[in-house]
Amino acid sequence: MGYEDIQKNIETEEGLSAGEAKIRQMLGELKRVEAPKNFGFAVQARIANAGPEDLRPAGSGLAFLRYAVPLALVLVVISGFVLNGIYNVNDNSVGPVAEIQPAPAPAPIVPAANEVAFTGNNSQVTNSENETKVVTGSEIAFEPVPGPRTRKAVVSSRNTNGGSIDSTQEGRTPIINLNPPAGMPASTPQPGTMGPVGQIPVQAILKIVGIKADSSNEGWKVTAVEANSLSEHSGVKAGDYVEAINGQPVTEGTRFSGGLIVKNLRVKRDGKVLDIPLK
């Protein structure tokens, strides 16, 4: 295609606006440059001197490696820094903790009369007859141990951040302490659900004061009262329904937390509601 042909092509376009036509004319009038006279010779020389890389088609896949390999190395280095940073964060979080002196182990509890010691899921209970029994769950029985008879009851629970039931009030009334946040009220989860970790169920509290009870629709039905226990002395009888402890209504799922001094029970007996102070 010669220059005249190009000019003809440029001039023959129709339907352009005046501005477009002017631009087209200006571009068409640009002076055409020519290749240097040695152009053909230079091409032949380049062909003759072409190396193997020139014989590859343009865009060869190997060219990709020039970028992929350094990029992969950079990614590996960055990944190393990121992972190292993560571990450093963990190390930093551990450091201050390591400086904290471990909490002293709770002093060993010397069983006394009416003493209940929780260790994990087990409880060591000592009654007023100096009988000690290690129990699991809700079973409590007693075996004689030497020692003075007192009315002091202590409950410790290692899996509840330590804690105790201390009964020194009047020598009889149990104080249940699980070391929860101060002021945390008793909670009543939905039946069938677990209560907050470390809280004591109603059944365990009742057993501490000498009551064996089962949950029913009307409340906790007393099936047996331990002989010579607080409850027996206070007048609780088998067949009673425990409706509240210290005025706090109890259901099957009720849990108690915080320092708890069992002062009284509200029971229903023969259709009548009785408030029985423990003494």
């Binding site: 020519e34 152009f39 020139d54």
Partner: protein, 208 residues
């Protein structure tokens, strides 16, 4: 002496006959090992390709270098060339790809150049200065100045607009050829060329 004259006559005959061959015939001859056929291809396209690349890159030395590289690529890929589309389309496509690659290399170099961070872009600030209204004795100087400004304006177009307008309005390719070279639809090609003219009109408004 007679032999020499005969050889010269034969060479002239070969040269004349190759000039009459089509592009496809020259390609086939090159595939068959005829180096003079390839030389004729180079002779046929060296000026259009050089001019196209010059208008694209606005750098004559670079344009010549890439034009030579275009023919080297054509030579080594000649076995893969198929005759279902025009050779001119094929060679312009190779030249376009090389030019686009070169522009992107320039951008990377500019990006990586530390000194570039402290240099003002002289081209952008000078090319759209209002033309000097003083009268000049030599009209060639006026033409050269205008050509220079137009060339710089073209070089500032985004490449997707620059390529089609150079092919269409400078190289005189048809819309179909431009679309084929760029592997674009006809509508897209026309739209881009129209857009490129609009951008140039804005850049060159002092010449209207």
């Amino acid at each position: 002496m007679d032999n020499i004259e005969n050889i010269g006559t034969e060479a002239l005959a070969v040269s004349v006959s190759e000039k009459n061959l089509s592009d496809h015939a020259l390609i086939e001859a090159t595939k068959g090992g005829d180096e003079t056929a390839f030389a004729e291809i180079v002779n046929r396209y060296r000026n259009p390709i050089t001019n196209y690349l010059y208008r694209f890159l606005n750098d004559y030395e670079e344009a010549v270098d890439l034009a030579q590289e275009t023919f080297v690529r054509v030579y080594f890929a000649i076995e893969r060339y198929h005759t279902e589309y025009a050779f001119s389309t094929y060679i312009y496509r190779i030249a376009t790809n090389l030019a686009i690659s070169e522009i992107r290399k320039r951008k990377r170099r500019k990006l990586l150049s530390l000194t570039g961070l402290f240099q003002s872009d002289a081209e952008d600030t000078t090319e759209f200065q209002p033309r000097d209204e003083r009268s000049l004795q030599d009209t060639n100087l006026i033409d050269d100045e205008r050509s220079s400004v137009i060339a710089k304006a073209i070089s500032t177009l985004p490449e997707k607009y620059r390529v089609p307008i150079v092919l269409r309005d400078i190289e005189g390719k048809s819309y179909d050829e431009v679309a084929s070279i760029l592997d674009l639809g006809l509508g897209t090609t026309k739209s881009r060329i129209s857009r490129a003219r609009g951008l140039l009109k804005e850049k060159l408004k002092h010449y209207f």
